[in-house]
Amino acid sequence: MGNALFHLEWIDYAIMIIYFMFVLGIGWVLKRYMKDANAFLEAGRSMPAWVAGLAFISTNLGALEVMGMAGSGAKYGMLTTHFYWVGAIPAMVFLAIFMMPFYYGSKARSVPEYLKLRFDEKTRGLNAILFAVMTILASGISMYALALLMEKVLGWDFNLSLLLSAAIVLVYTYLGGLSSAIYNEVLQFFIIVIGLLPIVFLGLHEVGGWSGLKEALVPIVSGKGFEGDSFTTTWKYTGQATSNPLGVEWYGILFGLGFVLSFGYWCTNFLIVQRAMAAKSTTAARNTPLIGAIPKMLIPFLIILPGIIALVLMNKTGSDFSINENGKPNYDLTIIMLLKHYLPTGVLGLGITALLASFMSGMAGNVSAFNTVWTYDIYQSYIRPATGDKEADSKHYLKVGRMATVFGVLVSIAAAYLAGLFGNIMDFLQTIFSMINAPLFAVIFLGMFWKRATGHGAFIGLLGGFLVALLHHGLTVPAGATTLVKGGWLGVMHTYPVEMAQNFWTAIYACAASAIIAVVVSLSTTQKKTDDELRGLVYSLTPKIKEDHVVWYMRTNTLAIFVLTMMVVLSVLFW
């Protein structure tokens, strides 16, 4: 326990233990509702919109995300908010208005299954297998990061931390399935907000509020070669890539982040979409992303703002605040060092619990999405199809879902140790993820809005888009890249100023290529699905949704207008 960063007292441990007792307790109580596969893998489609909505954004509020985004706050300032505003909200609104009716209304139980209904078996198979593999790897990586953090911060044994957190996740997901994962995501959302709020208040108090922060930043930012207010504005300096810390121009942000990357992530990633598919009605499913969007837009003040405050603290003369590790800044430590700097025993336990909770709910999210895809899209499709006896089938698939939970957690543990062996695996995985998501968005978009899109078109479009992404990644590098994981393994044709720019353009090329290939192949193959089969899956063949029976302020369109207005107001305020 010698060189741990924190020293915890009994009260900190008490908070931690009480929290995890509740987590396990929720799983225990939910166990008796898990009577069939539908309840376990789809939460029985019974969630109220606000629960699904908070879970929806919570899945994207894992500890790696929180730590990374606070670090980005220190690195890029308020420009980081582009990931929360333009880089999330339009996609969430689009998902709610245009895509949820098809995901939810088609009765598909997963995104791969939608692909099967709309296109064909091979498109589903490709997507399901890729998704299952990637999800489990992601879960393993976050397990690894958690254990590493507990070792460094709390001085706990690495192996013990890893197995303990895996055991907690396993128990509550095994007992309560998707419902348990969703409930704990909601719990995690509140504990993260309450755990981080003291830092925001104390930080603002120390730097003298927002105006004090702006003032203190001027000399620091000027020293980096940017305008004095470039860390407290969002769009002002995006006319040229070189005049803002992010290194991307406004159109790169708008199209790369705001369109391709965010639509690819929010509208097609089953991990996210599954939360909305668990809602209790079509209206609730459509409102899920919109209700989630409201807190989503405010999260920057909880995470990015402290990151910016940290930048001021580390440049203050005589301050002992530092995120340096072995002489180099480690931006991922930003939020940890803020916890250490501001929080006394008591709330410190709360802050640490919040981080641990978000690690674990991230894993549980991955495992519960893996379950569903494994059971319905792989096992039921290729290993043991339904027999027709509904009750017996449902019992059987419930058992398979539970086994998949155990299997998923075990493979995650293996992946966690693998991550320890290959330090670059995280970068690698993120790169591959964006290569898969961008083409997937193009294909699903065509499928929903163009009834002529065919199965062959979708399949070849997905593969082609992925190959183009690989090719682009292989031919370009970000400036200063030292490993081939960052690109350039085929030769270097173009050098991007920052890695972010390379990611944006990889996604843009992949999405465009995939769309073009899918259109060309679709036009040269015949549509095997009849109009009747495509009803409820394609926009032009599906009756418009009427919202007359819903009170006006809960209608999807009303919420969408509210959310978009709020985004515009925030963007103007922090222009």
Binding site: I11, A14, I15, I18, Y19, F22, G25, I26, V29, L30, Y33, G44, S46, V51, S179, Y183, V186, L187, F190, I194, L197, P198, F201, L202, H205, E206, H341, Y342, L343, P344, T345, G346, V347, L350
Partner: protein, 65 residues
């Protein structure tokens, strides 16, 4: 199905009571609160959690009636 507001309400009520009690108990400890500029963050966070927890439980009670 379990109303999620019940575990949320219970959790934050319990944690709120615990943390505010600890805050009252340590109120005179200036060394402990030197990090937080002598704000008793334990007491304030605890009270905030308690109010939130009780509010959630009241919502559940109101729905049952």
């Amino acid at each position: 199905m379990l109303d999620i507001r019940i575990p949320i309400g219970l959790l934050f009520t319990v944690l709120g009571i615990l943390l505010s009690a600890y805050g009252i108990y340590t109120n005179a400890n200036t060394e402990l609160y030197s990090k937080s500029f002598q704000f008793n963050v334990n007491l304030w966070s605890g009270l905030g959690m308690l109010v939130f927890g009780v509010f959630m439980l009241l919502l559940v009670k109101k729905k049952k009636k």
